[in-house]
Symmetry: C2
Subunit: 428 residues, 2 copies
């Protein structure tokens, strides 16, 4: 097939007529498909149902140190959960705080605490004229929502396949004391599925920010969420690297079991230096008497150890890998030769990132919506919902059944073709 | 027995010699007893073990509206949990937000949100020179810890058996715009076990605060925590009363199942007006995708309805009533005629409040501690840990086994006698 970019006006118009006919067919199908959010599908949830049997009325609900998990106590988590989550996060249990059900909530609270009380004795951010965060783009909309909510100015930093532009980051943080943080999804990034290279992580660990209270918000949401057993990305462990670089307090690292067991009923955690932990616990003890220890115990009894969790993740991979491959196969087949879009081919995580021709993303998503396919809102991957290129689209393949997903992806590619052809026709 | 206050110097000295001998005996017993916190005992936790069987791998984890509780969704809780907790709180389900495991966390977050974003469009409290809270005293130490942490000035308001001094409250809030809130435990109060009278609640609902963003923090922690089936306190429902008074947005009402099922693994909730809910949800959607719906479902399946919960509370009462009665019997027997202390006799809740002679509380607690009995820290029931009378002591009878509790209470009364006798001797 000829590239759209090389077609004449007449060829484009002819192609468009055919495409519009096809689109009408889809409209007649009364679809209601959802590719908008990174939600596990039912089959994925089913593989964790054994966790519902991990505890029952006949088992002892005491944890290793003898604490009755049913009662108050243990602000920062039960010892065996720290070991399991420590293994999952590749950190020492002593550097782990186990929280409630949501790592997003932990990130929000971390920003909120910095706003009202500052970090390790520094001025509370709410007392400063200006606070800025760096935001690798495209990125995770819920990160950006937190910083926007707190009135923190967001500065986009371009992503590459090796991680964000480190030259730009080094330059910016070394000069501007108002820059207090950066949002990172370092492994199987949201939405591109990129993993930061060894060099990127090393450079992060060696940052010399002007602000003493600058922190890297390292959201390792997909640390063990591989799609393949034989093709896995590896990430240099950031806490260890920071320690080696003489920057031990530079990072807050977040993770959860939301996409391992149940979203909303998993356990979340933070890993950081002992100094940061001390600072955090001073606040945490005022906020709660402790998180849900019974659910922590339920997770540990279900997985037993990190090997159990790793084996469990293979089951997730077996369910969602065909979905990723189906989307990629259709994108390749339908758009591979047309030069009207590029997309990522991740080895893990929950998303595929698609970039259309400049100025087309909104129209593509709106067109798909009108035919019954909901994608993530256009520009959601950019701070303030402003994608200056209007090109990035996040594809979330995990939730729909595979036949729906194929149909939705085919419709999506059709919308890409129509909107692109219209654009090229206008410009021709 | 003669009142200590009527004894001569010689009589006091003689009495003291006998008491000190007894104290030495206790010291030789190597006790390690804890009456410090309002923790349920093991037997109380055991009655909720059936909840661990309420869900298993064979049951459908969908809630009434079809939502799969295992997945993301439903920011403010599952419908059937809103009904159950609504019945528990005596509020319409539409006025309920179900949260995570800790109502303290909800209160903390409510203050934190007011600090950074203000209430319903008003100036964020962190931008004000001064923010003050009224604190009925004696009160709950963890309430005071939250306001202290946020630098909010706390103004003590004396409690009576009908609730806090309403004349003083009406006067203060009508004049001072810096007063933004008040902490209330309106039923079976912490630590006195007093319940606010109908008139007190009505006057609360009719407050005309100078500050438009003044809110009553109504922590109804012990709403259904009766000790007796036949002697129960009733509380006028504050939200309804506020609505009638034309003050619909005046109250945030908090509750949880921490002392119904498992502390740390219960569900917490907030009840408030629709205006306040809208204001809160604007923030909440940035903080989390949702709370633990599986645990909400677990609670509903276990209790079925409010009748199930009410029956369950009778089992709690049967376990802790004898403990309260044992403490009260010993206090009566040992101190009843001595005029060196007064105490409350609650119909519910978790505490008995004891008031020693002025200037004695710290010494009593320290003396009990030295003989192996840990009480709640002296002055914990006052803001800033400063009890101007040094007289209030919170007794928490629920946690220790009853024989331990009796021993601990006997030692406590002995310490009260010694410290009081010493004081009177000095003054004689």
């Amino acid at each position: 097939m000829k590239k759209y970019t090389e077609m004449t006006k007449e060829e484009l118009q002819k192609e468009l007529d055919v495409l519009n006919e096809k689109y009408k067919e889809y409209q007649g199908m009364d679809l209601a498909l959802d590719m908008s959010r990174g939600k596990p599908c039912r089959e994925q949830l089913d593989i964790s149902m054994g966790m519902m049997d991990a505890l029952n009325s006949h088992v002892d609900l005491s944890c290793e140190d003898g604490t009755d998990c049913r009662n108050y106590g243990l602000l920062d988590g039960i010892p065996e959960a720290k070991v399991l989550i420590g293994d999952m996060m590749e950190n020492h249990p002593d550097n782990i705080i186990i929280y409630g059900n949501s790592s997003l909530n932990v990130m929000y609270d971390t920003v909120a605490r910095a706003m009202t009380h500052g970090i390790m004795g520094h001025t509370p951010w709410c007392k400063l004229d200006k606070v800025k965060f760096l935001c690798p783009v495209p990125g995770y909309d819920r990160h950006f929502a937190i910083t926007e909510y707190f009135g923190i100015e967001m500065i986009p930093v371009p992503m590459t396949s090796k991680g964000p532009d480190m030259d730009m980051i080094e330059e910016l943080v070394s000069k501007d004391e108002a820059i207090k943080g950066i949002w990172c999804v370092p492994k199987y990034s949201n939405p591109q599925g990129y993993s930061y290279s060894d060099d990127t992580v090393r450079r992060f660990a060696r940052l010399r920010p002007a602000a003493q209270d600058f922190r890297i918000f390292w959201d390792n949401a997909y640390g063990i969420h591989h799609l393949y057993d034989d093709k896995q990305d590896y990430l240099v462990e950031i806490l260890a690297e920071c320690k080696k670089a003489g920057n031990p307090d530079l990072v807050y690292k977040f993770a959860s079991t939301s996409k391992i067991t149940f979203p909303g009923s998993g356990i979340a955690a933070l890993a950081t230096s002992l100094n940061n932990m001390e600072d955090i616990k001073k606040q945490l003890k005022n906020q709660t008497i402790g998180h849900d220890k019974v659910n922590q115990l339920r997770h540990v009894r279900f997985f037993k150890d990190i090997h159990g969790m790793t084996e469990h993740m293979k089951k997730h991979a077996d369910i969602i890998r065909p979905k990723f491959e189906a989307v990629l196969e259709i994108l390749d087949r339908e758009l591979g030769e047309l030069s009207i879009g590029t997309w990522t081919k991740p080895n893990g995580g929950y998303f595929i990132s698609f970039d259309s021709l400049e100025g087309c993303a909104k129209d593509i998503i709106s067109m798909a919506k009108k035919a019954g396919v909901t994608m993530t809102e256009a520009a959601a991957t950019w701070p303030y919902h402003k994608d200056p290129h209007d090109s990035n689209i996040r594809i979330a393949p995990t939730y729909p059944p595979i036949e729906d997903l194929k149909l939705a992806t085919e419709l999506f590619t059709l919308c890409v073709k129509i909107v692109s052809a219209e654009k090229l026709l206008k410009e021709a």
